[in-house]
Symmetry: C2
Amino acid sequence: MFTLDTSKWTLSTSERRIAIESMPRASAKPYHHGDLRAALIDAGTKLLRERGAAGLSLREVAKAAGVSHAAPYRHFEDKGQLLAAIAAAGFERLRAGMAKAAADHPDDPRAQLIAAGEAYVELAAKHPETMHLMFGGMIEPGKLRGALGEKGPGAFGDLVAIIESGQRAGIFARGETIELALASWSIAHGLGMLLAGGQLGPGKKRTPSELKALASRVIALGVGGLMRE
Amino acid sequence: MFTLDTSKWTLSTSERRIAIESMPRASAKPYHHGDLRAALIDAGTKLLRERGAAGLSLREVAKAAGVSHAAPYRHFEDKGQLLAAIAAAGFERLRAGMAKAAADHPDDPRAQLIAAGEAYVELAAKHPETMHLMFGGMIEPGKLRGALGEKGPGAFGDLVAIIESGQRAGIFARGETIELALASWSIAHGLGMLLAGGQLGPGKKRTPSELKALASRVIALGVGGLMRE
DNA sequence: ACCTGAACACCGTTCAAGT
DNA sequence: ACCTGAACACCGTTCAAGT
């Protein structure tokens, strides 16, 4: 989960006085010497959710963070790298959500797999704009991988570990672990992307519990093929 | 499959003479009184494949079609509707590709399902930019549905029909036909989108036969869950 | 060191004007 | 009827200049 570390925003006494005196009430906060990088990612994530990836301009992100349109270039090479950083935060939320869901079912790889898949689908349906930024081809793969660092393999690694433990326990089919993991990912990813794109009808009309039930049934159907016969 | 109907490009004798005399060799063809709408979709599809959806500007599409940047507004309300028309052509190619693959396996619903899924994944891997335009959240869902018309339900309808015939034959599991169809779609869509997005490594290094084998195995794993036990 | 403001080439969209 | 060219507000990016 991305969090803004406000403890890093330190102002000198004189800066503080100026900031208070010229305060235009909750706008144009001075990020000088603060963590502008984090503030830009935060503002960008908010704008992304409100207006979608198409309406996400570098200039508006900068304005929302209270700096000039050229300031972001001190922290990101170009717009693509800012988008990649926003997407990377999304990947981390996805990884964390799956791990948390799986942790509710110790010693039950099948339940872990389904719970992680449900979490994946629910997050995709809840934040379609982030999902599209992450997987919609809006960022060059190279930049995305650069911003991801270790987090990319992270989520898939968790999935592989679940499959592996299930194979050891004799619950899942024998065969290439990586391929079983890829099949599981494909089911959750496919359903999540279809929901995010509105291909299954407007998402507003589905209640959270209806969504969870749908995800659960579809994933269970797909995961059925991974079980040992 | 989208095809350009060249028979519709009719020029008067004088126009033809001017066109030939002032020919800058394969550029700036006069689409006056021709099928500019189809020419724009054609040029847009080509530019999309060459440069991706991010680099697809209305002005460049117009230039590639040999008209001014304002001419497209005679045929499309805005850029979004041109993109929707390009995406609609992609949906139709996908539907046709799946139908053709399924037709190779008469009276074998399981083989039809796997063949259709393979075709879906192969097309997604071959034209990732089109896939991202179709499913990447770049077009407002309303505009996309408007441009699709009858084609949207078309591909999914074919899938439902395959599942239905398999259920009647006692091959597939009983239960909600729509949900089995959605699970099948999710598997193919998920794998296709992951390949298109480069999440499974650079696509260039996979040969067509390796790709087909991967798609076949992953889809068979997922479809296994739909079989009657 | 960090940010600003002007400048540049591009973009989507509109509209009066041409044929 | 159909297309053009100028105009507008916006965009990403660069860079000399300010503190």
